[in-house]
Amino acid sequence: MPLVYDELRRLAARYISRERPGQTLQATALVNEAYVRLASERPREFANKTHFLAIAALSMRQILVQRARAKKAEKRGGAPHRITLDDRNLDGANLPPAIDMLALDEALTRLEAQDAEMARIVELRYFVGLTVEETADVLESSPATVKRHWAMARAWLKQALDSDVHASE
């Protein structure tokens, strides 16, 4: 577990330091690269890709949450409003709307207490970017079940996050 986590962190740090503003780096790309590396270095430990993905999903969730936490702490520290070079571009990157990673993590923990399998599905679908079919493979379930659970988990989390927003207003 720490090995996968460390590898993902290392890859993430390396890519982030290289990238340009406005460009995002999907977790999927990192997980794939981490798998290729680890599986070639320690074929015995990581021969089972589904097992690896389950670990990677949790690791990726932790990494993203830690980054979000660090960013929030920095904002409290009074960093000024940022103007990135991209803000000045004609057509800024079409990024998906920001998701409050900390609120999501908290809601996901609550969901986990209620329904662990749904939480796993969310980790695999959102934090790793697996398709419904791939998720079903990893969880040894059927695509139809995954699809049903995914729909409910999404609705449940959406509701949880929306009520958070209202509560804080």
């Binding site: 340009r20 070079l85 609705a155 959406k158």
Partner: protein
């Protein structure tokens, strides 16, 4: 919610989703019966489902721009951070105040977390070195490279003003001003290319118009330097850097030369003239015909068909584009510049003619001495005459390069002149003992040539280049 309730909720929610959208609510009410708690929960979930859109459907992503930042008012050594002005490939750029030298500066910082990485440090160092090599009024000057409190910091001139982007957004400029701006950018690129630096990210955001009307190109050295593999993790559909201004070979991630900057220049110049990006979907605006050729050549897909470097751009923009190659006629006959050109051509001709009497001299003297003297004369002729012809040609056809050519070739010409007249004079003295006519020619030309290059040429050059007020120089100062 206990396990049973949760299982019930899962069941009715799944059941409702299996129904057509319109009949879901009715189905739910029936399925829940008198369990109002369950109905309330299920209905809320259904509403959330309907408004979820693509919530969580896009896999999680990192935003690489969340690097550590320095807050306003923080001091880094003698620099006080005033505000963040931008982000480069890996660092943050601040407007800061140098409290020692009491001036504004731009700081490009590599935060401690990244400064630990020796590869990134080396890259930042090379960028600073590259940018520091460029010396031009149109390029922001690099002041220092330092390591302060764990940050790698590149300090450079702070350029105050408005970006070309905001000028364009306000409606752009007229063709005359566009030409001026373009020429300044070309001069900056020429200085960079001659220093071996490629900008790689020229775009209107990186061109600043100062309140005094000067043009400065910024982000030399701040521009991303390609590293192997860096381009491979691009995500489809997410723009990388500023593709709109990138040459095709740069977009492909291939090796990039100064010709990629020429391409970006073409895009910027065209946008300046028309107010629109060349690839914009709006109906194409016409480029003034006198610049159409230059722009078309900048935007060639094959890099080899473009101008080679900023220097060629400067030349292209300097020779009046409405009548490109007729500067030949523009030197007024009898003007100082004309006399200077005449002198160059005439001297070259006389030097070459003198190889004939020098050869005769060699036959008369004979032996090793004769041969050595003739070879010395010949070397003088070849160097002095040919470089003079080159200056003459440059003056006529690529006048913008003349200044540089004169500086570069002057010393060689002078050395060859001395070699020529000296060997001619010595040959003359040796021959003088028996064949006086050849000796007289040799000695006379040696004296005449000395006078010509020491006195006459200096006068013509002084008159021709005293200031930029000769007829042609007026056209492109």
């Amino acid at each position: 919610m206990n396990a049973d309730q949760w299982a019930r909720l899962k069941e009715v929610f799944a059941g409702a989703l299996a129904q057509p959208v319109a009949s879901r609510d009715a189905w739910l009410q029936q399925a829940c019966g008198d369990d109002t708690e369950l109905l309330k929960e299920a209905e809320a979930l259904l509403r959330a489902h309907e408004t979820a859109g693509d919530f969580l459907e896009q896999p999680a992503a990192f935003d690489p721009s969340d690097l550590d930042t320095l807050a306003e008012g923080t001091t880094l050594g003698s620099y006080r951070i005033l505000r963040e002005i931008g982000r480069g490939g890996m660092g943050v750029v601040y407007h800061a105040y140098d409290t020692d030298l009491e001036r504004d500066v731009a700081l490009k910082t590599l935060p401690p977390a990244l400064a630990n990485n020796s590869q990134l440090r080396e890259r930042q160092r090379r960028e600073a070195l590259a940018a520091a090599r460029i010396k031009d009024a149109h390029v922001a000057t690099v002041y220092a490279l330092a390591e302060i409190d764990g940050h790698m910091v590149m300090v450079s001139e702070f350029v105050e003003g408005e970006t070309l982007r905001s000028v364009l957004n306000r409606g752009g400029v007229g063709a005359g001003r566009a030409h001026e701006i373009a020429r300044s950018i070309a001069v900056a690129l020429a200085a960079a290319h001659e220093a071996g630096v490629i900008h790689r990210d020229l775009k209107p955001e990186n061109v600043i118009l100062t309140p005094k009307g000067l043009i400065k190109v910024i982000d030399f050295g701040i521009a991303h330097i390609e590293t192997p593999g860096a381009d491979r993790i691009t995500i489809p559909g997410v723009p990388l850097g500023t593709p709109a201004y990138m040459a095709p070979e740069q977009l492909r991630g291939g090796s990039v030369t100064s010709r990629a900057d020429v391409y970006a220049f073409g895009v910027v110049f065209r946008e300046l003239l028309t107010g629109r990006h060349p690839l914009s979907r709006q109906d194409p605006a016409a480029v003034p015909p006198r610049f159409a050729g230059i722009i078309a050549r900048c935007l060639k897909l094959d890099p080899d068909e473009r101008y080679e470097s900023g220097r060629e751009l400067v030349t292209a923009l300097s020779s009046d584009a409405s009548a490109p190659i007729v500067s030949y006629e523009r030197t007024l006959v009898g003007s100082p510049r004309w006399w200077w050109e005449f002198h160059q051509a005439a001297a070259a001709t006389v030097y070459w003619i003198m190889t004939w009497p020098a050869w005769t001299g060699r036959q008369i003297i004979g032996g090793a001495t004769g041969r050595a003297l003739f070879i010395a004369t010949l070397i003088g002729v070849i160097v002095a005459a040919n470089l003079r012809l080159h200056l003459w040609f440059t003056s006529r056809f690529t006048p913008s390069e003349l200044r540089r050519a004169r500086r570069r070739e002057g010393t060689w010409i002078r050395a060859a002149d001395w070699l020529f007249v000296a060997s001619l004079a010595v040959t003359g003295v040796f021959v003088g003992e028996d064949r006086s006519p050849v000796a007289i020619v040799l000695l006379a030309v040696a004296v005449g040539a000395t006078i010509a290059f020491l006195i006459i040429e200096r006068s013509t050059a002084r008159a021709a280049f005293r200031n930029s007020a000769t007829p042609r120089e007026l056209r492109h100062p």
